[in-house]
Symmetry: C2
């Protein structure tokens, strides 16, 4: 059942495979795409609509790292993990770029929960987070290993 940050914070023992979390929506406009790209990914297809026309992307497209950063913003609001959303790493793919005017949201599903052998108070929760546009198309798939903690005794 979708939950959100307005609910109580959850600990390792509260989390199970199949749990789902749905984020709010985030509108991405051309100005944001260009601002991010100027700072972190200054390539023609992320900087200028006219220049982008003759590239692989055939039009202005957000940097994949911008889609990733927006996804993190939506995850921080929608994954109510006690002690926060702390990622050790994961797998990421960008099946299609985020475009100007896209309204993104993130649907997260718990895939696996594993207690740590060496650290009894923590574990790793594997979460698939799909970043979807307003047409339900996947702009990013992230399978992240997140730290989760047991409730203090």
């Amino acid at each position: 059942m979708p939950t959100n940050a307005s609910q109580e914070k959850i600990h390792l023992d509260d989390i199970a495979p199949g749990d789902e979390f749905l984020s709010s929506e985030y509108l991405v406009d051309a100005g944001q795409i260009v601002d991010f790209a100027r700072q972190f990914d200054p390539q023609p297809f992320h900087l200028d609509e006219a220049a982008a026309k003759n590239t692989f992307f055939r039009g202005l497209a957000a940097s994949g790292w911008h889609t990733g950063a927006i996804t993190m913003k939506l995850l921080v609001e929608s994954l109510p993990f006690a002690q926060g959303v702390i990622g050790a790493g994961g797998e990421i793919s960008w099946p299609r770029p985020t475009r100007p005017g896209d309204v993104l949201h993130v649907k997260s599903t718990v895939i696996d929960v594993a207690a740590s052998r060496s650290k009894p108070n923590q574990g790793i929760v594997t979460v698939e987070s799909l970043t979807l546009n307003q047409d339900g198309e996947v702009c990013q798939r992230l399978v992240a290993k997140l730290l989760a903690f047991r409730k203090p005794a």
Copy 2:
């Protein structure tokens, strides 16, 4: 041999496993860490040194997505792929966080080169990019699948 963006652009047939590319350096300060976190990852350990002391990170730490974005900036300058640095996806991990005052650089090594079966003019180059701090410690490991293109006939 390390190469950089001042050299000629390279195409699919120019790239081979073992090829290395070294980026320039990038100084990360507390202001940048907090600015990025306010936009994309607003959690106490990324926002405020005092609040961060009592968290998992025991002090202010950059968002992993900030380290990823800075890495992309350094890759755009250091990977001289014709048509740009275009990632389809990859694996990412953050063995340690980027801290205020860190000076990052990225060392990239080509792991695999595969021609596309369906698109004769392109292929996928697998590149490991280590984002290292001034002490040579790994803040991020990224193994990315990048698009590369054949030289036009």
